[in-house]
């Protein structure tokens, strides 16, 4: 996992529970990483999951919901590093460009980055995003989509379908309900 995700996670926890909480979390969690997390670095997925699990346990929140909220928070931080990718496109176009543009750009900067795969089914009313990742972080992906809709000020409804026989896979059926400011 890229260091930027760890850093945003730190910011997310501090926003919710304060700086001391995160310091305690660091002190009390056994991590493989001995150095501070920096954006361009790459760290074990297990470290993020260890911090996340310790945080939800201490805060007493539902992990899936927490992961979704983190995704929502993460989107705003990530888009701030490359706002040009969200210019001159609408939400649907942006979502459609995730695999062919955004992830390609990510790999240009970080060739070792492992990004999830997205395939799409489109209709006038819906966009179905088929997620696949060995990390099985579909709640994070859902949160990212919600964060994205917030960024574009659009109301959406997401119907999420997981697959018992294939936990790496998930489908999001997104309905676009128009501008959220109206």
């Amino acid at each position: 996992m890229k260091g930027i995700v760890f850093n945003v996670f730190e910011e997310f926890i501090e926003t919710i529970a304060g700086e001391e909480f995160f310091d305690d979390l660091l002190d009390s969690t056994v991590l493989q990483t001995q150095v501070p997390f920096v954006g361009p670095g790459t760290y074990p997925d297990a470290d993020l999951m260890a911090l996340f699990t310790a945080a939800v346990e201490r805060l007493g929140v539902e992990p899936g919901q927490a992961l979704k909220q983190f995704g929502q928070f993460l989107f705003h931080k990530l888009i701030a590093t490359g706002p040009q990718y969200a210019e001159n496109v609408d939400l649907r176009q942006f979502l459609l460009s995730i695999h062919t543009v955004i992830h390609v750009e990510v790999r240009k900067l970080y060739p070792e980055a492992i990004t999830p795969e997205f395939t799409y089914d489109e209709s006038d009313d819906h966009l179905v995003m088929h997620y696949r990742s060995a990390r099985q972080l579909w709640q994070l992906a859902e949160g990212l989509i919600i964060g994205c809709a917030e960024y574009f000020n659009e109301e959406i409804t997401i119907e999420t379908q997981t697959y018992d026989d294939d936990p790496e896979r998930c489908s999001f059926t997104i309905t676009f309900n128009g501008n959220s400011e109206h």
Binding site: E19, E20, D23, V35, P36, F37, V38, P40, G41
Partner: protein, 420 residues
């Protein structure tokens, strides 16, 4: 200081330390990334250099085309089309390649590339540049050398079959000519033997009875004995001389059509020249007198059949030049001289056929170059001769101006080490 403010200080100190650590890590990351970038740049430059070297050393000419315009080319293309890369860039490729057949990519087609007005037979392949929709690459292989080899092979095969045929005919003629010649010599000697007898009859004619002498004189008159006594020996001499000439032509034909195995053999160049002059006599005898000035030569290790082919080409060319130049019907002159000089044998074939203009001299040994009318020349004779002398015998074939025509000079080293 309160407990909470103290705790806040600790937190801030820890954060500060973490941020300082992050700076160190980031600095190291930047250094690592810079080193990686530097190495990648070096690697890219090396790769670009090797690709460029590869493209430059390709024996094929290559053009990169975008929207029908040439955007790049390699060195071979510059050489083939006699234009620099800079002058070709931005020009439509159709200016250099007549490729009406390209309607889909990839394709392979034989076509002409155009260097000025000169068409160059080329085998071309056209294919899309990977990852580009409107950019494609045209690769052309110059087919002249292959066509020249094919022509040479064809000519060699033709000469071989003509040679075999000629050798067979020469062998067949040789036997009857031999016994006709023997018989003619026998007749001549017999006539010489009979001559004293006839003279004796003549001397003793007055002793014969009148009626018998009268009858014999009548018979002598009917047979025109006086004329026969004068002309029969002369007729026999002419026949023998003619037969000797036939025999020498047959011998020359056998020598000329010597089956040329791939290995070289020891050859008397003067004899080879004489044979070739004999078999080509019909080509020049109506247009020129040919004189041979043969110096004393050592034997030369060479491909006899090929050397004969060179002599034949030069003699026939000289005869054609004289025929074109002497339109008033006067006979021209072909002079062939041989000399051993500076470790080499030099053969000079000089004519008075008007010579070769300078702008043609430059291209006279190029394959397919000819100034002769269609059907009279293929443009292969001098190119093949040049190849035989230069590449097969480590020699040289040059042209210079003679007093009234062209002078071809063949120089072949007597030592033939490394010749093909």
């Amino acid at each position: 200081m309160t407990t909470s403010s103290c705790q806040r200080c600790t937190t801030l100190e820890r954060r500060l330390q973490r941020e300082k650590d992050k700076v160190h890590v980031l600095e190291r990351l930047i250094e690592e990334r810079s080193a990686t970038l530097y190495e990648a740049k070096q690697h890219s430059e090396e790769l670009a250099h090797s690709v460029e070297s590869l493209l430059r050393s390709l024996p094929e000419a290559m053009l990169v085309i975008e929207d029908d315009l040439i955007i790049d080319c390699n060195q071979r293309a510059e050489e083939l089309l006699q234009q620099t890369r800079e002058t070709m860039q931005g020009k439509p490729f159709t200016e250099f390649v007549s490729l009406a057949q390209i309607d889909k990519l990839p394709c392979e087609v034989e076509c002409n590339w155009l260097a000025g007005n000169q068409p160059i037979p080329t085998l071309s392949s056209a294919a899309e540049v990977i990852g580009s929709t409107n950019k494609w690459m045209l690769v052309g292989r110059d087919m002249r050398e292959r066509q020249q080899m094919e022509a040479r092979l064809l000519q060699a095969q033709k000469l071989e079959s003509i040679g075999q045929l000629a050798a067979g005919v020469a062998h067949e003629i040789n036997t009857p000519i031999q016994f006709v010649s023997d018989s003619m010599h026998f007749l001549k000697e017999s006539y010489e033997d009979v001559k004293p007898l006839i003279n004796a009859y003549e001397e003793h004619r007055q002793l014969w009875p009148e009626d018998i002498r009268h009858h014999i004189e009548e018979l002598e008159e009917d047979a025109d004995m006086e004329f026969l006594r004068e002309e029969v020996p002369a007729a026999l001499d002419r026949s023998i001389s003619g037969l000797e000439r036939v025999a020498s032509i047959v011998k020359a034909l056998k020598g000329f059509s010597h089956p040329d195995r791939d290995e070289q053999s020891l050859v008397d160049i003067n004899e080879a020249l004489s044979n070739t002059v004999t078999v080509t006599r019909n080509e020049y005898k109506y247009h020129a007198e040919l004189s041979l000035v043969l110096g004393e030569l050592p034997s030369l290790t060479c491909h006899l059949g090929e050397i004969n082919q060179v002599f034949l080409n030069l003699i026939v060319n000289a005869a054609h030049a004289i025929a074109d130049n002497h339109t008033d019907g006067t006979l021209g002159r072909i002079e062939i001289t041989t000399i051993a000089i500076d470790g080499a044998i030099r053969i000079t074939v000089e004519d008075d056929g008007g010579g070769v203009p300078d702008h043609i001299k430059e291209r006279i040994f190029d394959p397919f170059f000819t100034t002769k009318a269609v059907g009279r020349g293929t443009g292969q004779g001098l190119a093949i001769s040049h190849d035989i002398i230069v590449n097969r015998h480590n020699g040289s074939l040059d042209i210079e101006d003679g007093p009234a025509g062209a002078r071809f000079i063949i120089t072949i080293p007597i030592e033939q080490e490394g010749a093909q």
